[in-house]
């Protein structure tokens, strides 16, 4: 059966082209791969090859023709025993399979993209009343979380620079090498891009790696593997495989280490679908959230803070204590203003709320704890009560977590706002080294107090 050779699309955007030159003539025998013609588009000249064997029966479009539409017939290909005289061009030719551009109806996803307002704040406490508590540092809580999960699941392993013999650059992995051995607590060379990719592969292969970055500043060398490989694979594989793993380490400014060692990556990672992003403030949250993160079947960014490592908090003495992802914690209830923060920002938020109370301003302080998924419902509900909001974070202002919360409040609680939302952030500068400048660059308690007074018109 004769077939039509159609004008090909040589790029996704090509609609028509010039048939510059025929390299075969009528009567020629061609096999799959024979170059038939040169086709010109606005971008390039390209060879067009035969895709099946046969004889060129008729050339329908002469060389030099411009504006030949994609999918229109340009020649007729005959089988060995056919003659062009015997083919009636409109009826005998095998279906030329031109694809009509289907008019697809793209339904609006508008209602999917606006956040769903939580009807009420989930205020269940993280542990039952009467649970015995002990004082523990964030550092110890993180170590205990990893140790407990490693005891519980043999596929959990920890890898990173100095995590094993040195016991962790910030001593978070203290004692883990002794207990679990070098197969499960692995020192890596200083090659973030490479070992992060290896950890992603190990997660695809059935393990649950915890990758420790000495600090998140160095994870920039690995960010392609985190986002393109770990976060997107579940989607790209249609749900077949993903990367159950944790990327953890200190994030944000430490003290006096200047620009390259002092960046807050919270808003960077919170931008990415496919990642979960956790940023605890207290020791109990560090422990309960890290345990949940290790069990979670998705890639989790778990951001710690060097300054908080040594800070002590109450931690419940429970054998299987976890904190769910995506649930904010209300540290202080109040009626005059909502202060939303996370990670080390909570330090300023809480300090400010205490000082404000002395002046009679009752602030409600919310610790997001998880940035993705974000408990925006709790924030909205709180703002519906207080009608004012201040956000606090160490990162830079443009595209900050605060700016996202502001937009959510505008969409969901516009009528409840009595003042514009204010974002207290780190200043829009690289971190300076000089002690005085560093203090200026960071967000401060005084700034949070000023912002609250501003939104409460005091």
């Amino acid at each position: 059966m004769a077939t039509e050779i159609l004008m090909p699309a040589l790029s996704p955007t090509m609609e028509e082209g010039t048939l510059a030159k025929w390299l075969v003539k009528e009567g020629d025998t061609v096999t799959s791969g024979t170059i038939l013609a040169e086709i010109e588009t606005d971008k390039a000249t390209m060879d067009f090859e035969a895709i099946s064997d046969g004889i060129i029966g008729k050339i329908l479009i002469p060389a030099g023709t411009e504006g030949v539409k994609v999918n229109s017939p340009i020649a007729v290909l005959l089988e060995d025993n056919e003659k062009i005289e015997d083919v009636s061009l409109d009826s005998d030719i095998a279906n030329s399979e031109s694809v009509a551009e289907a008019e697809t109806n793209i339904p609006s996803q508008f209602f999917q993209t606006i956040t769903q307002t939580a009807t009420q704040i989930d205020n269940t406490p993280d542990w039952p009343d009467g649970t015995p508590l002990k004082q523990q540092t964030v550092r110890e809580a993180l170590r205990d979380a990893m140790a407990e999960e490693m005891r519980h699941d043999p596929t959990v392993l920890l890898m990173g620079e100095e995590v094993a013999e040195y016991q962790g650059a910030y001593k978070v992995s203290q004692g883990l090498l002794d207990e679990f051995g070098e197969t499960r607590v692995m020192d890596t060379p200083i090659t973030e891009h490479g070992f992060t990719g290896i950890a992603v592969g190990a997660a695809f292969g059935g393990l649950r790696p915890i990758v420790e970055f000495m600090t998140f500043n160095f994870a920039m060398q690995a960010i392609d593997q985190i986002i393109n490989s770990a976060a997107k694979t579940l989607y790209m594989s249609g749900g077949q495989m993903g990367a159950p793993m944790v990327f953890r380490g200190p994030n944000g400014a430490a003290a006096r280490v200047a620009a390259q060692h002092s960046q807050d990556y919270a808003s960077w990672y919170s931008h990415i679908p496919g990642l979960r992003v956790v940023i605890p403030y207290s020791a109990s949250d560090a422990k309960g959230l890290l345990k949940t993160a290790i069990r979670d079947p998705n890639p989790v960014i778990f951001m710690e803070n060097e300054i908080l490592y040594g800070k002590s908090f109450d931690v419940p003495e429970l054998s299987n204590f976890t904190v769910p992802l995506g649930k904010a914690r209300v540290w202080r209830e109040g009626s005059d203003v909502t202060i939303v923060s996370f990670g080390i920002g909570m330090q300023y938020a809480l300090e400010a709320s205490e000082k404000l109370l002395e002046e009679g301003i009752k602030a409600e302080v919310i610790d997001l704890r998880t940035l993705r998924p974000m408990d925006t419902g709790s924030v909205i509900q709180s703002v519906m009560k207080t009608n004012r909001c201040v956000t606090v974070e160490e990162g830079w202002p443009q595209n900050s977590i605060g700016s996202y919360i502001s937009s959510i409040l505008m969409q969901e609680a516009f009528d409840y706002l009595d003042a514009p939302v204010i974002n207290c952030t780190g200043k829009d500068v690289p971190m300076p080294y000089a002690s005085n400048l560093e203090k200026l660059a960071l967000v401060t308690t005084a700034e949070v107090i000023d912002a609250v007074k501003h939104v409460t018109y005091r």
Binding site: T45, P107, Q109, P189, T191, T196, I198, G201, G239, G274
Partner: protein, 330 residues
């Protein structure tokens, strides 16, 4: 020594040779069909064809065992077909339909099969290399005796993360075979214009990783090189590098003007070195198959590929709700 022409007997059975011929031809016909569907506008975006390189994956698949893993770049259709993935599911992914391996959400460059131990399909040049070593790390950790084939191109061979990976794979003795598919070009850049030392199989020397150069147009040579590398890995001796010298007949992707090489260069390779013609020659001269046997293989493949194309056209587009699924695992 008296010159005596010896026809080296292949160390494979007639049956295996026929299977090899079948698999290589299946890849070629599949790719030709994909090119055709692309020309018709049924496949969009980037589509990187494997025509000319068939002996590489088919030879190496003949050297591996059930449960061994593989991971590669965006030029992945051949790898998927060679490891037994269904041509229907692969083609339907190319057309972006729900019957595709990724339900239409991955496309030509991003496809996976847990069942066949195929770990992608990666669009970022070189990114699959540490991932391959990580799969091997998991296998070593789980002590399951598996080997991972990690494929990448001559262009990718200049990526920094590959040398980071070589170091760790050697340090930790990971059972991974790094297969450098040297098809001589990275898009429009001939290897000599991008690469200071052309012998890519020696690139592991600084890390103590042994490497061999292999004629990638000769499927049996590829198989025996693969078998040697697999034995090395399974014996617990760590990684191995194979630089497989091959050639891609088509452009880098569909929209490639191909002005960086001459038409004669491509034609010469096709006429003198074609990997499928070589196997056909061995089959016929060694009487491993008759003309009729080959004709029936050709016909089976034609039917298989036509059915795949039909399926890829008929399968529905993914449902609207698919936009929002598979972002997080429960």
């Amino acid at each position: 020594m008296a010159a005596r022409k010896t026809v080296k007997k292949p160390n494979v059975s007639s049956e295996e040779l026929q299977q090899i011929y079948h698999d290589m031809l299946m890849i070629r016909r599949f790719e030709e069909k994909a090119g055709q569907l692309y020309g018709m506008g049924l496949i969009g975006g980037f589509c990187h064809l494997y025509i000319g390189q068939e002996a590489v994956v088919v030879g190496l698949e003949a050297a591996c065992q059930d449960g061994d893993k593989r991971v590669t770049s965006y030029r992945d259709h051949g790898h998927m077909l060679a490891c037994g993935m269904n041509p229907k599911g692969v083609m339907a992914e190319l057309t972006g339909r729900e019957g595709g391996y990724s339900k239409g959400k991955g496309g030509s460059m991003h496809m996976f099969s847990k069942e066949k131990h195929f770990y992608g399909g990666h669009g970022i040049v070189g990114a699959q290399v540490p991932i391959g070593a990580g799969l091997a790390l998991a296998d070593k950790y789980l002590e399951n005796g598996r080997v991972t084939f990690t494929y990448f191109g001559d262009g990718a061979a200049n990526q920094g993360q590959i040398y980071e990976t070589f170091n760790m794979a050697a340090l930790w003795q990971l059972p991974v075979i790094f297969v450098i598919e040297n098809n001589q070009y990275a898009m429009g850049t001939a290897q000599k214009r991008s690469t200071s030392t052309p012998e890519l199989y020696t690139r592991g020397a600084a890390f103590g990783i042994p490497g061999d150069a292999v004629d990638g147009m000769d499927v049996l040579k590829v198989k025996s090189a693969g078998t040697k590398a697999v034995m090395h890995c399974r014996a617990g001796k760590g990684p191995y590098i194979l630089e497989v010298k091959t050639y891609r007949y088509r452009g880098h992707s569909m929209s490639d003007p191909a002005k960086y090489r001459t038409r004669e260069e491509v034609q010469k390779m096709r006429e003198e070195r074609d990997p499928i013609e070589q196997v056909k020659g061995i089959l016929l001269t060694g009487k491993h198959a008759s003309d009729d046997d080959l004709k029936s293989i050709d016909k089976d493949i034609k039917d298989l590929i036509n059915a795949a194309a039909e399926f890829a056209k008929e399968s529905s587009e993914p449902g609207v709700s698919e936009l929002w699924t598979d972002i997080y695992a429960e």
